[in-house]
Structure formats: C-alpha cells, structure tokens
C-alpha cells in the first residue's frame, strides 16, 4: 500500500504543481481587480450523467480562468474577477431545481450556467421564471420551448437533425434510399423522430421502420432483424440513431457483426455521438458512419485549434473537446460581453444586451437571436477510422434557430421573439 500511496502522493503534487502554474497567469493580475462577481455552475458531478456533465464544468472553469487572465469583466468602469460556486445536480432532476434556488436566493449569483438533460431543464425552468433569474443551457435539444429566462446555446432541431436528414436523403451515398429510425425510449428520440418523419414526408422520402429500445436494455437482436428486413430489399439505406449512452455500444457492436455496415450500403446518422463518445465506443465500430454538430474538434481554424489545445493543456493530452463543451465555452463569453454592454449585472438589462451579441467561437462566428437561441454553423462529419470527424460539408454561414419546429404540425407557423413585448414566447408568423 505504501508504494501506491507514494505514487498517489507524487501524482497529487505533480497535478497541484500543474494547476498552480496554469493558474499563475490569472493570479498575477488578481491584485488589480476592483471587485469580485460570483456566478453559479450547476451540473451533475455524481450519478449517471456525471461522465458527460463534468466535462462542461471543466470547460466553463477554463473559460472563466481565461476571462480572469485577460482582466476579468469590466462593468461600469470597475473590473470584476469572476468567481464561481459549483453545485452538484446529482443526475436527479428535482435536485437541479433545489440547487438553483440555493444559488439564486442564498448565494445571490447573477447567472447560472447549467443542465444537460431536457428533464433537468424542465425541472429548473419554473424556478428561473418565478424568480426572474437567468439560466444558460448548453446542449443541443428537441426545442418546442422558448423561455424568457433561459438562454439556449446548443443546437435546435433545425440546426442539427434537419440539415442531417437533408444531407442523408439528398447527398449521402445512400441518397434516396429508405430510412429506419432507432432511438432510446424517452422524450428526446421520440420528439426528434417525429420531426424527421414529417421532414421526410415533405422531401418525398420513406420511413420503413422505427423502433425504440427501453433505457437500460441492450438486446438489439430483434431491431437488427427488423432493420435488415426493412432495408435489405433496397440494398441498404439510412439509419437515424438517437440511442442513449452505452446502448450505442451494444448497437454498433452488434450491427457490425450482423453485416449492417457502410460497405454493405447501410449508413447510420448519429445525433448524440461526439468525439468523446467515438473514443469510448471505439472508432473501429463507427468508421464510415455520420454525425451532425455545430462544432467538431477537427475544424481547421486557429480558434478551434486553440480551444482544443488549451483544454488539453489544462486537463491532460488524452482529453477531447466536443460540441456541448464548445457551447458551454461560448455561453460564458457571451454572458461576459452582455454584462459589459449592459453596464450592470442586473437581469433585465443583461437580457436586453444579450440579444444581438456576436462572438468568434471555436466553430466560427455565432450570434444571439431574439428567441434566446444561437445562430450557428451546422456541420456534417464522417467518422474517421482513427476517431474524430472528417467534415464533409458545412452550411454557408450561420443557420438561424427555430424554437418552434416548422415540420411538426402543432408548432408549424409559430416563432418566438423576446425583444418585442407583443410577440414573446409564441406568436403566429
């Protein structure tokens, strides 16, 4: 035990040294701050979601450290150092609401960066609306929601699934072939697939099957035989995959064994597999399939490379950055800019200043729209044999976000605009 302790102690001191030196840049200027502002960070640090959400905490901390190193936030002529309180949502949705209350009432933070699952956002929403506080939410989601008190920096469906479906139907190697939809059995895949079905109807495409795997179940043999039965007559086709977490591992291992591979004409488009997931599932199973995101680590711009390099320098060379992390990074900077423009931390002024903010994000320029979502670039990537994406196409400039989906009959013709008091959450176009 002694040896291991020594090694552990050595590791601990080494990592301490690293973190001290990396913070060194920030602490040099710390003497020159006039004041401190404390913000809230609220993600799951324990439970099922901890694996994903802790990467967001890391990224948000990095953005805050960068801002501090560059002189902090300047509001009304005074420079503020950003301090943060990290709370654990524990992968438990009521806990998210409870901790939000604590951060707003007890700690008096002007803003909370937090959440991942739609369930946690839905739990937090009433808290922020009743207290007129502000939540920044960084994940691509199913939309059909537009709150005055939430700022959504992830993709809405028309910034991810719709361009992806369009690509698969028109320009992929399986163009024109039928679609099969697979997902985990909960709200996001079902909503997303409803949208995809409506979209394919208007494109003239065909959905030949749809199946949902109950959460926790990894027996995909019946799904595989259904896929084969449905797609084999047309010599392959497109599979839209919205499976959750480790169900993906079972799915990809088994479809490869069953011969459902790109070389046989079957192409899978994934909405929840990013760089992190590619390395966990194993690129040998995913090679040749597709993904759609706003940010991909392989974007060849100085901003993107710097973002990835900074993250690796801070947290280890084996770490990767992915779309959700980029969204989390952007939202910290966008908040800083909005606060500086508003000249106050006060909510309604910041909210007004936020709309129209632009930022040179790692993915390219982004802009905050009146519906509290981000206009951003959409990219389609092919998964490479060594992991990561090869970017096949990206949109010319940004795609404007739609909070209310235009393919879904119940929300068609509606939009959201918080800058005009007569329009608000949902108005008819």
């Amino acid at each position: 035990m002694r040896i291991s302790r020594r090694i552990l102690a050595g590791l601990a001191t080494a990592s301490l040294a690293v973190s001290v030196t990396s913070c060194g840049g920030g602490s040099d200027t710390s003497g020159s701050f006039d004041d401190t502002v404390t913000v809230g960070i609220l993600h799951s640090l324990s439970g099922t979601m901890a694996i994903s959400e802790s990467t967001l905490v890391d990224t948000e901390k990095m953005a805050i450290a960068e801002i501090n190193a560059a002189g902090g936030v300047t509001v009304g002529g005074k420079s503020y150092k950003i301090d943060y309180i990290v709370e654990d949502g524990a992968s438990d949705w009521p806990t998210f609401a409870e901790k939000s209350k604590k951060l707003i009432d007890q700690d008096g933070v002007p803003v909370v960066f937090g959440g991942w699952t739609s369930a946690s956002r839905k739990a937090m929403l009433p808290v922020y609306e009743s207290k007129d506080a502000f939540l920044y939410y960084p994940i691509q989601y199913e939309a059909q929601e537009c709150s005055n008190n939430i700022f959504y920096t992830g993709a809405s469906p028309n910034q991810q699934s719709e361009p992806a479906t369009d690509f698969m139907y028109k320009r992929s190697p399986a163009a024109g072939k039928p679609f099969f939809l697979v997902g985990s059995d909960y709200v996001f895949p079902r909503t997303s697939n409803t949208i995809t079905k409506e979209q394919l109807k208007s494109l003239g495409g065909k959905v030949v099957g749809e199946d949902y795997l109950p959460l926790g179940n990894t027996e995909v043999a019946p799904i595989i035989s259904k896929i084969k039965k449905a797609l084999a007559p047309s010599g392959g086709g497109v599979i839209i995959n919205t499976l959750n977490g480790d169900q993906n591992v079972a799915f990809f291992k088994q479809i490869q064994d069953a011969g459902i591979t790109p070389s046989n004409g079957y192409y899978v488009m994934n909405y929840s597999i990013a760089e992190e997931e590619i390395s966990t599932i194993g690129p040998e199973f995913l090679e040749g399939h597709y993904g759609a995101w706003n940010y991909m680590m392989s974007i060849d711009t100085p901003e993107s490379k710097k973002f990835a390099a900074d993250f690796k320098a801070l947290y280890g060379s084996d770490r990767v950055v992915a779309d959700p992390q980029e969204s989390a990074y952007n939202m910290v900077y966008l908040w800083k800019q909005a606060v500086e423009d508003a000249g106050t931390f006060e909510n309604s002024a910041v909210r007004e200043a936020l709309v129209g903010q632009t930022f040179d994000a790692p993915q390219g320029p982004v802009e905050v729209m009146p519906n509290h979502h981000l206009a951003q670039t959409v990219r389609i990537g092919l998964i490479k044999p060594e992991g990561g994406f090869e970017i096949l196409e990206e949109t010319d400039g940004v795609v404007f976000p739609q909070a209310w989906n235009q393919f879904e009959p119940s929300s068609k013709g509606y939009a959201c605009d918080w800058t005009d008091p007569s329009k608000g959450e949902r108005y008819k176009l």
Partner: protein
Amino acid sequence: MLLDSLFNGVAIGSVLLVAALGLAIVFGLMGVINLAHGELMMLGAYTTYVTQLIFKLPLLKTYYNAYVIVSIFFAFIVSGVVGILLEKTVIRKLYGSPLETLLATWGVSLILQQFVRSVPLAYGTGLVISLIIGLFLPSVFSSKLKESVNFKYVKFSSWIFAALAGVLSGNLISSSVSKLSRASARNVDVTAPAWMRGQVEILGTAFPKTRLMIIIITLISVIAITLFLNQSAWGMRIRAVTQNREMSDCLGISTEKVDIITFGIGSGLAGVAGVAVSLLGSVGPNVGGNYIVGCFMVVVLGGVGNLLGTIFASFGIGIMTDLIGAGRLLSIWPDMPLPLSNTINFFATTSMARVMIFALIVIFLQFKPTGLFPQKGRMVES
C-alpha cells in the same frame, strides 16, 4: 428465413440462459435469493476487460487472440471467489430467512457497484488476487500441518502473504497498464479479437460470430454443469443436500462445504455470463442490473430447482422475443385478417414485445405456479 428466426431466438435465449444458469443453481438448488447475482456478472465482465488490457502488453501481445478464452477461466475464478466470500460472510448467517437474504444481497450489490466506480481496477484486481491466494493457500498445506496447534498462525501468515502478493500485483498492473490505474465510473469497452468479429455463412444464411461464440460458451457451461452435478462425487453430495439437508448431514456429508462449493460454482457461472455479456455491449457498473430481472424470470418460469426447466424457459423466451419483437408472424402469415395484423404490428417493437412477454409469463404462472418443470419429491412437501 426460418433458420434466421430460429437462430435469433436461440441467440437471445442463450444470453438469458448463460446469465440465469448460475442463478438456477444458487436460487434453484440452494434457495438463496441472490440479488447480487447481476453484480457477480459485472465482475466477470470487468475481468474480461482487465484481461484484454493485460494481453495488450508487449509480453503477451502474441497471444492476444486467445484472451477471450483465458478470460472465461479468470472470470469464473474471480466471481467464484467473491461469491465464496459472500457466502462465508453474509449468506451463511441468513439461511432460512429469505427476506433478510434478499435485503442483504441487495446491499452487497450496491457495495460492489460502488466498488468498481471508486476503486482503480488495478487495485481491485490486486484485492481479488489476494483473496484467491488467501482462500486457497491453506488448502495446499499437508493435513498434518493442519492438525497442529500452530495452524492458526500458519493460516494468519498465509493471509499476510496473500495481502502482500495482492498489493504487489496491484501495483504492477497499475504501473504497466495506465488505463487501470485510475478509478472511473465511465463505462469501458471490450473489443472482441478480429477472428471473433464479422459473420460466418452457414447454409446460405450469415450468422454473427460473437453470437455463435456466446451460444458455444452457453453450451459448454450447460454440459459442464450437468456432468458435474450428475457424475462427480461433489455433484452427488450437492444433489443430496438439496433433497434432504438433515439426512445428508447425518450421513456424514459436510453440508457447510457443500454450500460453499455450490454457491462458488453458481457465482463462477455468473462470471462466465459476464464474459458473454461484455461481448455484446459495454461494461459498466450497472451492467448486471440490466440482466437480474431476466434471470429470475427464467428460473421461476422454468421451475425452481430444475436445470432443464431453465434451459427450456430461456430458449422459449428468446424465441418469443424474436417472434413478437421483430414482427415475424406477419411475414410467416402475410394475409392474416386486419385487426390481428394491426395488433401484431403494435407489439412489434422492442418495448412492447417485453410488455407482451411479461404478460404471457404472468398468465402462464397463473395456471402453472410452479413453472414448466415443477420439482417433485420430499423437499416440495416440506
């Protein structure tokens, strides 16, 4: 078509069977409701992962292709030893009180889940190695030594030796395989060697190799356990104790030893199931929990205390899952009346197929509460 369907059913069934086989012994023969059975499977799956990484070391790289076979034995030993420890420390005190056993083993399952989350796998492996040495070292000493007064000191020092060996091997693994030196709640992945990936073609139909491998593992396990129970001396003792514990005790069978061996074998089989399961999906702390309900379902449906019943039940459920879930009835009988085909279509999704199968089992058990092959004999009457 028919062959394809049959194969799918057998493939699903063999996963159920290999997972339930250990439970059929522990729950069926001993009557212990072991809720930690799933976690013993999880340990087997993690053993596969550790073995895989160790076989990637330069020293063993040439034998990498064989690691799955080796890990079957390792998994059997690891889960078996943990099972024996569980029996010695917890379950032995609770024989005859099923409710307490249920709660205690559920607690153990939580402990084991948290253990793999928060202890680096290298040190976990070290701990298991020291347990194996500690439990088995005393049995190699000569019986003369065992009878001497100082044997307790010998036993004690053998445990110290075991602990040392465990710490050393833990450190060795942790320094040579960096992936195992940090604790992580993240799911890990077992990649089958190249010869086990892809398909083979038999009679014009392509079969996934991993599924075939699982069927083979299941077959070997079933044959081995049947031979052991019916042909070996210990198997006979186990059956004797199952049938009448008091009488066997009177006839000089060490029931304590029989309990340990039975439980150890049942747990070891859970480890083998873990290897099979790791080939299909990812390996994580919750992997066992996904299978435990299915295991109990199979054992209860088959009839408690009957291996043959377990086999029939698991293949039955497997074939039913495929028939309902993949909507095969429609392709067998394409022009059936509309209301019927609509109903079948409604149940032809994975979620609904599960609902349907549970419903069918509940109905079946209403008419035959003791399962497919009820146990006959003295134990039932008592």
